[in-house]
């Protein structure tokens, strides 16, 4: 191989590497959750909770609430198990009555009007349709915020080229409108944008 072709390839490969590997890690700012939490333990057979045991509608019924400390306290007023995270929950938060500053993965931006009640109650869509297997997850991953757009990676899509294989891979507008199309719901801008 001559040196010209080699240089060309070096440029190509170098740039592909930067673009596919370094760029994504630079693009997102990682924000760790304040406390570890296993959805799997809670929804598993031993405990057997469902999503709406903790994620209830907010007072204005438009969103699902991130559980507050009072939800946790119902069971965890004292340490029940052996996990380190639970011990921290009791010591750092329950004992001081301090709310846990959870970092929300999938909060829609200000210009989107998303009403959970319309999707969950009226259209009867399963949580998994959009949130995937989050309810079965063992740990809480870091929230990743796009440094340019400010969006959470859960909304922009975990897969960097923006592809979607499963329904919950992305929560972009196209994904909403695809589902609306499938179900014959209106795709008018007005219905979801504010």
């Amino acid at each position: 191989m001559n040196s010209g072709r080699l240089s060309f390839l070096a440029g190509l490969v170098g740039m592909l590497l930067i673009g596919w590997v370094f760029f994504p890690s630079l693009l997102y700012q990682k924000e760790p959750q304040p406390l570890q939490f296993s959805h799997a333990v809670h929804t598993g057979e031993a405990v057997g909770m469902t999503c709406d045991n903790c994620h209830t509608f907010t007072a204005d019924v438009r969103s699902m609430a991130i559980p507050r400390l009072s939800n946790c306290k119902e069971c965890h007023s004292e340490v029940l198990g052996e996990s380190e995270a639970e011990k921290r929950l009791v010591d750092e938060f329950v004992a001081h009555d301090r709310e846990i500053p959870w970092r929300t993965y999938s909060r829609q931006p200000d210009n989107v009007y998303f009403s959970h009640i319309q999707h969950v109650q009226i259209a009867e869509i399963e949580c998994e349709r959009c949130h995937g297997s989050h309810g079965k997850s063992e740990t809480l991953t870091d929230r990743q915020i796009n440094r340019i757009s400010g969006y959470s990676r859960n909304i922009e899509g975990q897969i960097i080229p923006g592809l979607r294989f499963k329904a919950w891979d992305r929560m972009k507008m196209d994904d909403c409108s695809d589902c609306h199309d499938e179900r014959g719901a209106s795709n008018s801008c007005l219905k979801c944008h504010k």
Binding site: L12, G14, M15, G162
Partner: protein, 727 residues
């Protein structure tokens, strides 16, 4: 060779990189993210999230005390709406009231006390704690107390109304030599003029338009601003078709546009028209027989009596004076006298003789003491009935250069006082003005101390109903923000200043707290066992008698309920004095009528145009109203603007002027610049200017009724000529 080779390799490397760049997600992701970034710029505010709740309170911006339904997100009000109000009968807010929740965030809001000192380079300001400011002022007050010859101490109440003013008056009575000053003109003057003409001295009156069929308005701002406006608008809203408005106006205001009939009158001749109408009513015997029987003057026929004076205003003469056709005058008189209940109204700021003449019309058609017109009402039960009060002094009656220390209560949103007039009352040297206001002084206001007080909706305020309302009412303006613990009210500052100065003669009020005062007021109402309570939550009205205790009553009011008094049976038998009850007032009226001469308002050939002044946009742009009112006053052309001179097309043609041309307006007193606007609604012999344009061309200061585009009165007519400005 090697250099050429490496250069070529660099090119190839660049080529490869370019291809790799395009095949990587980088450019596409960046393009996408950057456009998302433009949709979420960090300097665009983020929206609050939280549950929606509603709070009921009442608006304190004007004495009408409209009920307010505040939409709250996470304990912050995001919008205010009118709530059903059984006292006034309406459920809407005016444009200023709709944005009342912005006032806490007004750009000129202050949170610290300031001391201002005049320096060579203008005025410098220095922050200090409220305690320090109070200590400084207390020291001055102490000096006055010790050496009264240094000058007087006074409190200026920008809007004397309600419990706070009452407390201030009582409070000042315990400070030796203290004055309580009120503006020369303020709300309720029109209603109070009635006392001078009716028999029962202790009576108060209100306007009941609920059945009125004819409303004859002598230039009252029926649809712009405050005062009578809510009462009229409510009828307009609920029974437009049966409510006939005749608007007598010298320019085209909202009121004259919206009224059923607009009678365009030559400015300054309104009294002649009122007496002309009275002439027709008396001459054609259209008056109400019962009223005529009560009116003592209607039978007398001596020189300078009522009959003698009205005889001087036959329709023919009035037509030539006012510029209104004779048949219109006769027709209007007939309509007013026959389509009853009818009420005639004038502005609080109108000349005294006009107000008097307008009341004469009401007496003639039997409007006084009748449902659907002017009704008697019982005053609000007073908690400190026997308390000693410092009597109010009108600003113009305060001797010039007599005040050493003046505190100004500027808790009202709109102050109509003229600042130079106020300054003139201060001693030439060594005088101190303390402004108690939530906001920095406006342009042209020079004060020595500024002490911050609560903005609207930050504190509890007692809210009795306005002067015009037909029945007394009371509600409490509860704070929308919980943070309102800090800060205070003017009277509390006064309380602390006086306590610290040692000038207090009795300690009685030194310990009073606002909540205690409110409770006293509620006790007084509760003990009267009168009236009903309206609950906004369920829109229910219950009699006060069904409330168990004064404490419950207080709690209900704090939730946003309103108390309103029962109506009183109106008396119809007292005597009426058309010329005024006292000889001196009858004399004064007769003199002003006889002195009325149309020569005074005829134009002078070198100054052919009469100025019609109106309120202006400047007040809204720089005054203490929400900046969102820019929608009306800056971002649309709805209201008159201060840089324009409005002329009729004919006038413009006559003086060879064109729209948008720059002109100079000359009066015998000076000149000012403006831009011509043509408006067919302006009378051909007049030019419409705004108040601030008058400064240079008027010998006296105009009296502003409301500075947000409404009516303005001048003591003397101003005549001008207009010339094109040389560029």
């Amino acid at each position: 060779m090697s250099s050429a080779l490496s250069r070529r390799n660099i090119l190839k490397l660049a080529g490869g990189s370019a291809l790799g760049f395009l095949l990587s997600p980088m450019p596409w992701k960046m393009l996408d993210d950057i456009s998302i970034w433009t949709q979420n710029w960090s300097w665009i505010p983020k929206l609050r999230r939280g549950p929606v709740t509603h709070k009921y309170t009442s608006c304190t911006l004007c004495p009408n005390a409209c009920r307010v339904n505040a939409r709250m997100i996470s304990e912050t009000p995001v919008s205010l709406w009118g709530a059903p109000d059984p006292c006034v009968g309406h459920s809407y807010l005016c444009s200023v009231g709709l944005a009342g929740h912005h006032l806490a965030y007004h750009p000129s809001r202050v949170r610290n006390a300031h001391r201002f000192t005049a320096t060579e380079n203008g005025i410098s300001s220095e922050q200090l704690s409220v305690e320090d400011a109070i200590a400084h002022i207390a020291k001055i007050l102490h000096n006055i107390h010790v050496r009264p010859e240094e000058g007087e101490f006074a409190l200026f109440d920008c809007r004397p109304h309600g419990m706070v003013s009452d407390i201030q008056q009582i409070f000042l009575s315990h400070v030796l030599g203290a004055r309580y000053i009120v503006p020369d003109h303020h709300e309720g003057r029109f209603m109070r003029a009635l006392m001078e003409m009716t028999e029962d001295p202790g009576q108060s009156y209100g306007l009941d338009f609920s059945r009125t069929r004819t409303l004859l308005s002598f230039g009252v701002s029926l649809f712009e601003g405050w005062g009578i406006s809510p009462l009229v608008v409510e009828q307009f809203r609920s029974r437009r078709e049966e409510f006939n408005i005749i608007q007598i106006d010298h320019h085209q205001s909202s009121s004259s546009i919206v009224a059923d009939t607009h009678i365009a009158i030559k400015p300054g001749t309104e009294m002649a028209l009122a007496l002309g109408l009275a002439h027709v009513i008396v001459g054609e015997r259209l008056y109400d027989p019962a009223s005529a029987a009560r009116a003592v003057d209607l039978k007398r026929n001596k020189p300078f009596s009522f009959m003698d004076l009205t005889r001087r205003f036959p329709p023919g003469r009035v037509a030539s004076v006012t510029g209104i056709p004779e048949d219109v005058i006769v027709r209007t008189a007939r309509e007013f006298a026959s389509n009853r209940p009818a009420t005639a109204i004038a502005d609080d700021f109108a000349p005294a003789e006009l107000i008097h003449s307008v009341w004469i019309l009401n007496h003639l058609v039997g409007a006084t003491g009748k449902n659907g017109s002017v009704v008697q009402k019982r005053p609000l039960p007073q908690p400190w009935k026997g308390a000693h009060r410092t009597p109010p002094t009108r600003l113009r009656n305060v001797p010039d250069h007599s005040l050493r220390l003046l505190m100004i209560d500027a808790s009202a949103a709109d102050t109509t006082v003229s600042w130079p007039d106020l300054r003139r009352k201060m001693r030439a040297e060594n005088a101190t003005i303390v402004l108690c206001s939530p906001y920095r002084p406006k342009r042209g206001e020079s004060v020595d101390y500024l002490i911050p007080i609560h903005a609207p909706y930050e504190t509890v305020r007692a809210n009795p109903s306005g002067e015009y309302v037909a029945t007394s009412a009371f509600q409490i303006s509860t704070p929308l923000w919980s943070k309102s613990e800090e800060g205070c009210e003017t009277w509390q500052i006064l309380q602390r200043v006086v306590s610290a100065s040692g000038a207090m003669t009795k300690e009685e009020f030194a310990q009073l707290e606002p909540e205690e005062l409110l409770r006293l007021q509620c006790d007084a109402i509760f003990n009267s066992k009168r009236g009903t309570i309206h609950h906004p939550n369920n829109d229910e009205t219950i009699p006060l008698g069904s409330v168990l205790s004064s404490g419950d009553f207080y709690a209900t009011l704090m939730e946003g309920a309103a108390w309103s008094d029962d109506g009183v049976a109106t008396s119809t038998n007292g005597r009426l004095f058309l010329m005024g009850k006292s000889t001196s007032s009858a004399q004064r009226f007769a003199e002003s009528v006889l002195a009325f001469d149309n020569a005074g308002i005829d134009s002078n050939p070198s100054f052919p145009l009469l100025v019609v002044p109106v309120g202006e946009d400047v007040a809204a742009r720089f005054g203490h109203v929400s900046p969102i009112l820019s929608k009306i006053y800056q971002e649309s052309d709805l209201k008159p603007r201060s840089r324009f001179a409005y002329l009729h097309h004919e006038t413009a043609r006559r003086f060879k002027l064109a729209a948008e041309q720059r002109v100079i307006i000359h009066s015998p007193h000076g000149a000012t610049e403006a831009i011509v606007r043509c408006d067919s609604s302006v009378r051909p012999d007049t030019v419409q200017l705004s108040v601030s344009q008058l400064d240079a061309i008027s010998p006296t200061r105009p009296r502003i009724i409301n500075s947000y585009g409404g009516r303005v009165y001048t003591d003397q007519p101003i005549f001008v000529r207009i010339e094109r400005a040389r560029s």
